[in-house]
């Protein structure tokens, strides 16, 4: 069972992802985005699998002028960004508190 936790804090969504971030999780997150939401914080500490649906969602969110902050994104995220050739165009904001 996927136990991604989503918490609304004023105009921000705080999301603690579980093991994988995929089409299903993207749809769950989209269903929680209301018009006043302009910021998403994503905690990847427990998430080590994500696919293009996740990456495209985050890319489009930030490109639309919203804020995106990631915590402990896994290496696979950067691999996918490179393969999809988005690295030069996307200024990703993230913090790493674990190695």
């Amino acid at each position: 069972m996927n136990t991604t936790k989503i918490h609304k804090n004023n105009t921000a969504l705080e999301i603690a992802l579980s093991k994988s971030f995929n089409l299903h999780i993207k749809e769950v997150i989209e269903s929680r985005i209301s018009s006043e939401i302009d910021t998403i914080h994503m905690d990847f500490t427990n998430c080590h699998i994500l696919d293009s649906e996740a990456v495209i969602f985050m890319y489009k969110w930030q490109k639309a002028g919203n804020k995106l902050m990631l915590q402990n994104p896994p290496e696979i995220l950067f691999n996918i960004i490179t393969i999809l050739e988005l690295d030069e165009d996307w200024n990703l904001h993230y913090i790493k508190s674990k190695e």
């Binding site: 069972m1 093991k19 994988s20 995929n22 089409l23 699998i49 696919d51 293009s52 050739e85 988005l86």
Partner: protein
């Protein structure tokens, strides 16, 4: 560990499926990084199937098969959703950045995160995807290093004089506890050059023995040292087995151990009620074929380019082309007369092959045959040896289009040496459908007796590389005849 799952087209399946794929990949030899990449590839593929093959259908089902092989892991996905052509969905990074159009992004990731990705459109049978990832193997290096330290010298003539008499050796059916001795025996005999590399892995040997996939005989000296090993590998889709993995330690050669082990193996095959056993004997020298024929095996087919060209111990130079093998077959026990439908082109040769095997058949010419609604065709790809086997289980009205699409996919996406095709000889449609196949560049390989579901098959082959047939040595007179037929056809086609 092989697994087959039936998956619903509900997006909620993605999380559990990723969890399973990741754990399965780890437990079958991939590193954490490889397992992550492979899992992402599966996630991408399943997402595409849910979104594009079954739009708006969350209750449909499709199948995923996980296969653990020696050097890689493979996942085969089969679905019968809406038609789809991956070549029409190429990812364009400029379009992604400028227009937010990410079409084909998932497929780009699948191709990058797998070592092999093959898409086959099977017409009415739907679509099939093959994803594979190579394993990083450490154990073999450790084992070889250990064996290198312990490698014995070849026996001196004086030692042979002091030889232990033949009758003092013991022969027992192998058990999982013999696995390590077998791996060492293989190394000491063949060095690095034995073609079946799983025999360098004691754990792999143990698994096959525990799973009863293998029936083997081990010969031990009076002091309990492993002197020889020989096995029958049971086929999973028919009640026959392949003899192979024959090895006698250099210290104990020239004492009839190999012959004794073969006698024991034939007895084991009888007591296990196998319908037949066969050997795939290499054709770069006649030694294995000679041994097979001594025990009544008959050559039924010649398979060109069956395995990659490796340096064989005892040969100074590398054999310059992939290794071809003959199928030597031995029926076990009495066989009932059966009705077969033989394509006229090979009727004479096939009947001679049956005669060689002493199998009674009644050849029949079908009048009119109704085809099934859809074909049942199985494809197996061996990425290590660059070969594929297509087995026709049932002919449907879509037979030509499905087979043509399979061949096109293999030709465009894989760099194979050869494609083998098995046509069922007990199916009345075969003579008619053979005419279709003949135009696709297939030539004769031979008879594959009882090879699938206890039925006989005509094995054909389509070479994708040039071969020099002069380098192929067939031992028996009939083997030479089969080789000549194949040579004539090959030169006519090239």
């Amino acid at each position: 560990m092989d697994v087959k799952l039936s998956i619903s087209t509900d997006v909620k399946i993605l999380g559990p499926l990723c969890d399973f794929t990741y754990s399965w990949s780890l437990s079958n030899g991939l590193t954490e990084k490889q397992a992550t990449h492979f899992t992402v590839a599966v996630s991408e593929l399943v997402t595409d199937i849910i979104l594009f093959a079954y739009p708006n259908k969350s209750q449909a089902q499709f199948e995923i098969e996980y296969k653990d092989k020696l050097r890689n892991v493979e996942i085969i996905v089969q679905e019968v959703g809406e038609p789809f052509d991956p070549d029409r969905h190429r990812y364009n990074p400029e379009m992604a950045v400028s227009d937010g159009d990410f079409e084909g992004a998932g497929l780009r990731l699948i191709r990058r995160f797998c070592d092999n990705f093959l898409f086959i459109n099977k017409g009415k049978e739907g679509k099939e995807f093959h994803l594979s990832k190579e394993k990083v193997i450490h154990d073999i290096d450790e084992l070889i290093e250990q064996s290198r330290k312990e490698k014995p010298n070849e026996p001196k003539p004086a030692d042979l004089k002091k030889a232990i008499p033949e009758k003092e050796f013991t022969y027992k059916q192998v058990t999982p506890s013999d696995a390590e001795d077998i791996a060492k025996l293989i190394y000491r005999t063949y060095g690095y050059t034995y073609s079946k590399e799983d025999l360098y892995f004691p754990k792999k040997i143990e698994q096959t023995l525990v799973g009863k996939e293998k029936l083997g005989i081990i010969c031990r000296s009076p002091k309990g040292k492993a002197a020889g090993y020989f096995a029958i590998l049971k086929k999973t889709d028919s009640n026959i087995g392949e003899v192979g993995e024959a090895v006698v330690s250099p210290n104990y050669r020239k004492r009839g151990i190999m012959s004794k082990m073969m006698e024991h193996l034939i007895e084991i095959a009888k007591s296990n009620k196998l319908a037949g056993i066969f050997g795939k004997a290499v054709t770069l020298h006649p030694v294995s074929q000679k041994v097979n024929h001594k025990y009544g095996f008959k050559t039924t087919a010649l398979m060109l380019a069956d395995s990659k060209n490796i340096k064989y111990k005892g040969f100074n130079e590398e054999y310059p082309q992939p290794i071809s093998v003959v199928i030597d077959f031995l029926p076990i026990g009495p066989t009932k007369e059966k009705t077969v439908y033989l394509p006229s082109k090979y009727k004479k040769l096939l009947l001679e092959t049956y005669k060689e095997l002493d199998i009674q058949v009644k050849p029949k010419d079908p009048k009119s045959v109704k085809l099934a609604k859809k074909s049942d065709i199985e494809l197996e790809i061996n990425f290590d040896d660059l070969k594929a086997l297509i087995v026709i289980k049932k002919y449907g009205s879509d037979f030509y289009s499905v087979l043509a699409e399979m061949l096109k996919s293999l030709d465009e996406q894989e760099n194979l040496n050869v494609i083998y095709l098995d046509l069922p000889l007990e199916n009345p449609s075969t003579p008619q459908q053979f005419k279709v196949v003949e135009k696709m560049g297939f030539i004769y390989s031979g008879l594959a007796p009882l090879f699938h579901q206890e039925n006989d098959f005509l094995r054909l082959q389509k070479l994708m590389i040039p071969m020099d047939l002069n380098l192929i040595e067939a031992f028996s007179e009939f083997g030479k005849k089969v080789k000549k037929e194949i040579g004539n056809e090959y030169h006519k086609n090239t």
